[in-house]
């Protein structure tokens, strides 16, 4: 799995690629919490996620809760079919802000 973070002065985009599982999700959690600790608005690009398990979803939930507490934006963008399946099973597709693309997510915050 690869985690690539792009930062601007306004937000951070954390792009995940590959399989987010029990072995790799701690890296995702660490990156998301670090971005939120830097007071960025955080968008997580899940377009390249081919698999995500409950530990990966837990990392997203923890980041979502921290963002809500801090009053910063946290959204998922470009969610792959594999990731959406698990989010739907967990009924979290109704909880997270989900946008088709990064541009859509940024535009929604203006």
């Amino acid at each position: 799995m690869n985690v690539t973070t792009t930062r601007t002065d306004r937000h951070a985009v954390v792009a995940l690629q590959g399989e987010v599982d029990l072995q790799t999700s701690p890296q995702v959690r660490k990156e998301l919490l670090q971005c939120l600790g830097e007071a960025f608005h955080v968008f997580v690009d899940l377009a390249g996620v081919t698999y995500i398990d409950s530990s990966g979803v837990a990392s997203l939930v923890e980041a979502f809760q921290l963002a809500r507490k801090n009053g910063t934006r946290f959204a998922l963008v470009g969610v792959s079919d594999a990731a959406l399946r698990v989010l739907q099973l967990a009924r979290l597709d109704r909880v997270f802000a989900i946008f088709p693309s990064l541009d859509d997510a940024i535009a929604a915050g203006r």
């Binding site: 029990l22 072995q23 398990d53 409950s54 979803v57 990392s59 594999a82 399946r85 099973l89 967990a90």
Partner: protein, 143 residues
């Protein structure tokens, strides 16, 4: 084990460790496709297998080293997955999914397993083993 059941399509023996799960998922997915399972169905079974293995790693072995035996069978219209571990016996009544309206990071694995599989049973384990979890799903295509 009962005498009349089919031989496993595959039997895997692996360490109960996070870094083994990717390969297990790959092998199980391949065998499910080869036995006639549609890709979407195979992916769902793989999620359930992965989450059940995680439960063994995290809650049965609790960080101690141990082994898992995975058996995958085709039984008529069903695929049957057995996971055998050698951890202390778990109390099945204590394995419950958390309510989904409680938004918190953990506890989703058991919910996913129950949503994705048709039947989940703890069976008497073989001699020397700790637990035997059997998960069954109808795959809706002839063997």
């Amino acid at each position: 084990m009962t005498g009349g059941e089919a031989a496993p399509l595959v039997e895997l023996r692996f360490l109960a460790a996070a870094n083994r799960l990717r390969r297990v998922r790959r092998i199980v997915h391949g065998h499910l496709l080869r036995c006639g399972c549609a890709d979407a169905c195979a992916r769902d079974v793989v999620i359930a297998v992965d989450e059940a293995c995680q439960n063994i790693i995290r809650h049965a072995y609790r960080g101690e080293s141990g082994k898992i035996i995975l058996q995958l069978r085709r039984n008529g219209d069903d695929v049957v997955v057995r996971l055998i571990d050698f951890a202390p016996p778990v109390d099945p009544t204590r394995i419950r999914p958390r309510p989904l309206d409680e938004l918190r990071p953990g506890g989703l694995g058991t919910h996913l397993i129950r949503q994705l599989m048709d039947r989940i049973e703890f069976l008497p384990p073989p001699d020397g083993a700790g637990n035997l979890l059997q998960m069954t799903k109808k795959i809706g295509c002839p063997p």
